[in-house]
């Protein structure tokens, strides 16, 4: 497989990294701001951010001494495309109809 999305899935597989990722949903943040209120240390956050960056889930830009991180659409796109391969609209609607039929039977 060796898909480009592998790193993204591995990255979001960790709960702490998902928490960081979700913190960036509202907008860009510096490292100290991200670490603020989290239950892990600031260096741990730095290490996670490195992994998220390599997974194309965040980008970083320097502003003086501050490192501003924001969500990167690229990684999300990779994951969406991967999942789309397994997504079958027809099957879902078929299952829904089947479930409804089952409900009517048991009533």
């Amino acid at each position: 497989m060796t898909a480009a999305s592998a790193k993204s899935f591995q990255a979001l597989g960790d709960p702490t990294r998902r928490a960081i990722f979700e913190k960036l949903e509202k907008g860009p943040l510096s490292v100290v701001h991200i670490a603020e209120g989290m239950e892990v240390s600031r260096p741990a956050v730095s290490q996670h951010l490195k992994i998220l960056k390599e997974a194309k889930l965040v980008t970083m830009e320097q502003e003086g001494t501050r490192s501003i991180y924001r969500i990167n659409q690229k990684g999300i796109e990779l994951m969406l495309k991967y999942l789309d391969r397994f997504w079958d609209d027809a099957l879902v609607s078929f299952k829904k109809v089947a479930e409804e039929t089952e409900k009517r039977k048991t009533k």
Copy 2:
């Protein structure tokens, strides 16, 4: 954040589980068939299947002594919905335009 999708991301974060998941893309398979050609033992595959099932990424149905596994759309749906929160069409098209503009400049 305790989202329903947490287990799904954790499950697909592992490369071996992604390999199993991808094997089921073409259709339902028994455990021995899934394990066939993989570099891990059959019990390992069983353990992974349990996790994938709890993550709503596969379903199982018994056929005699055989356990037939197939892809479950539910888990995929959970992940797609989660990622959609971070997906910003406007931002992507804006970035594309910006990149194109940049290209023209450097030409």
